[in-house]
Symmetry: C2
Subunit: 361 residues, 2 copies
């Protein structure tokens, strides 16, 4: 377990290499009965979020996942069978396994369909929280494919005009490779902010800005605790609310997963599995053109975007996901600066179970 | 040409039945060389927008389309050949025909692929403005299918952090049938408002609200004319801007259409065809379930949405597209109230070409 050279994080932080973080995370999953290959997948997904600066979806969440495995609500070792539905379509029952493993396998399967037929769609039911949507876009992009990866999620926002929580703040995630250039990695919540950001503010004892959320009565609030009891505000009003409903339709209604407010919140509902659904669609970027043309066109788009005249106060125009991609490059070489307080629950679990701790923790 | 009974529009308006409006619109297209079946398709698409209250995308736009046909920039009578790309995928060269006809035919073809294989994707290049996105969702929904219908469009907004115009305010359109209930018809621009609303404000001499658009220098403006020279503001900042880029990637980069700011504005660019691209994906709602289960689940979602506790001041919660659907039902029986001033250019064209006018015009 090596520490990068010249690492001098603030004392409340510890720098871990991605490899160290992955080994630690995988060991924790294995200890609760997740087979080694699946534990490695889950660890890779979570650490990728940390590498990209999306620390709301990183290894700090592990205690929540382990708790659900221990409660029998997540099956640590399900067997997956893809059922063919058509030449380019398959169905997967996730059997309440880890969302990371289910979604990674489903993307793999969709890539196989697309390799043969140009496009591949996999509908997934009985899954659980799959973490950062961009993980799966990158899986497709790194294999040379474009992708749409949608999931539904536990209730966090009302339909437009309503009160309380019905639909999830599911990531809307669409990606496209750009060989030799910057890939398109759009991974966004349909709300002004993701719920993870409110949870982080609560953890860190900070107020949230106005316009992010409402309390249980539907009134604006800057208290993250009240916001977590209330609901998040969608982007563009009815538009963001419509996007969230779309994800519940594609991932829930269509696939056979839970839907319409019935997906279990992993932090609140302990009497049944989550029942999450995913809609995973991948496509060859050279579906309608030669591979060379496709790559040249995408590179031209990126170049055009990045050379657009800048608005006042803007130093650089970024592709969606580009800032996160640079963070990943930096953290791969410099290490990931975790807050000790965020890792404390993981350290406690490791100590209780006899899992070796990374140096410095 | 019948007028509905009890019709008493304000004197500046004229009520036309949908049938009358369609016949008038089709006659104008036929007069410029569009074959009868294609003229009927274009007329049906445009009048459907008027029926649904989306009058920014209705027959008032006809003079613009005719002008481009007469300028040789739109081919009134191209022949379409769908090239198979895979069992569920086809490519269409729109040959600079009318976008309405191209998109309608492409949805039809995609439905045929989906009937056989569960899903169908058609990538379209060399198309033109196709009007209201919901038209094509409804075409799929009425055939019993779900759909994603994306298009790119002429430059109207910068990438996030940029100035000026690069990407279009393309409709993001996704639909799902709900037999016996209210279908999901999400048709939204990734901007706070569609450019058509700004054009309408300009036509009607009204200022636009703050937060809709910026002028050519990137400063906020309430002047619709300045806004049309400047750019529209996306929903959710970088998120809406990312959605617009996504549509340019899927509809332009992928299909072989023009892209990255190169799609021609139908009202400004008269030295070449528009080169619009479409991404049309349809799917069977019973892909992963029985048809009965699928229908029951969608009906349950709609019922749950509509019975959600209402926010203060809200009388009813609507599904996306439901208000427009009710407008369509009402206008089918009561007629469509057109502003005479908006129809004046059509009347002028009809008179010049000897096309019979609907009664009352």
């Amino acid at each position: 377990m090596t520490q990068p050279k010249d690492a001098s994080p603030a004392p409340e932080r510890v720098l871990l290499t991605a490899q160290t973080a992955r080994e630690f995370a995988a060991a924790l999953f294995e200890k609760t009965g997740v087979p080694q290959p699946d534990a490695a997948i889950a660890a890779r997904c979570l650490v990728r979020a940390d590498l990209r600066g999306v620390d709301t979806h990183g290894i700090v969440r592990i205690p929540g996942y382990l708790k659900r495995i221990e409660a029998g609500l997540v099956d640590p070792a399900p067997e997956f069978v893809f059922e063919p539905v058509g030449p380019s379509v398959a169905r997967l029952d996730g059997r309440d396994g880890l969302g990371f493993v289910i979604a990674t396998r489903a993307v793999d399967h969709a890539l196989g369909l697309a390799a043969e037929h140009g496009i591949g769609l996999v509908g997934v039911r009985n899954s659980t929280h799959f973490g950062m949507g961009a993980t799966y876009l990158l899986q497709a992009i790194e294999a040379g494919y474009g992708a749409m990866v949608f999931t539904n999620a536990s209730p966090a926002m009302p339909p437009w005009g309503g009160r309380g929580e019905l639909f999830g703040t599911s990531p809307f995630a669409v990606g496209m490779p750009a060989p030799g250039s910057v890939p398109f990695v759009l991974d966004m919540s349909p709300t002004v902010v993701a719920r993870g950001k409110i949870r982080k503010a609560e953890r860190e004892g900070r107020a949230i800005p106005d316009g992010w959320a409402v309390d249980a009565e539907g009134n604006p609030t800057t208290d993250p605790g009240e916001a977590l009891k209330g609901g998040l505000l969608p982007i563009g009003g009815a538009k963001g609310a419509g996007l969230s409903m779309m994800m519940d339709i594609l991932c829930g209604v269509l696939t056979g997963a839970r839907f319409a407010g019935d997906v279990g919140d992993q932090y609140k509902v302990f009497d049944r599995p989550q029942g999450v659904g995913h809609f995973i669609f991948v496509f060859r970027p050279d579906l309608f053109l030669t591979a060379q043309e496709a790559a040249a066109r995408m590179a031209h788009l990126v170049k055009t975007v990045k050379s657009t005249p800048k608005a006042a106060g803007v130093d650089e125009i970024f592709m969606p996901g580009e800032i996160e991609g640079r963070c990943e490059v930096a953290r791969l070489s410099e290490g990931i600066p975790y807050r000790r307080v965020d890792l404390a629950p993981l350290v406690e679990i490791a100590k209780a179970g006899g899992t070796p701790l990374p140096r410095g923790l």
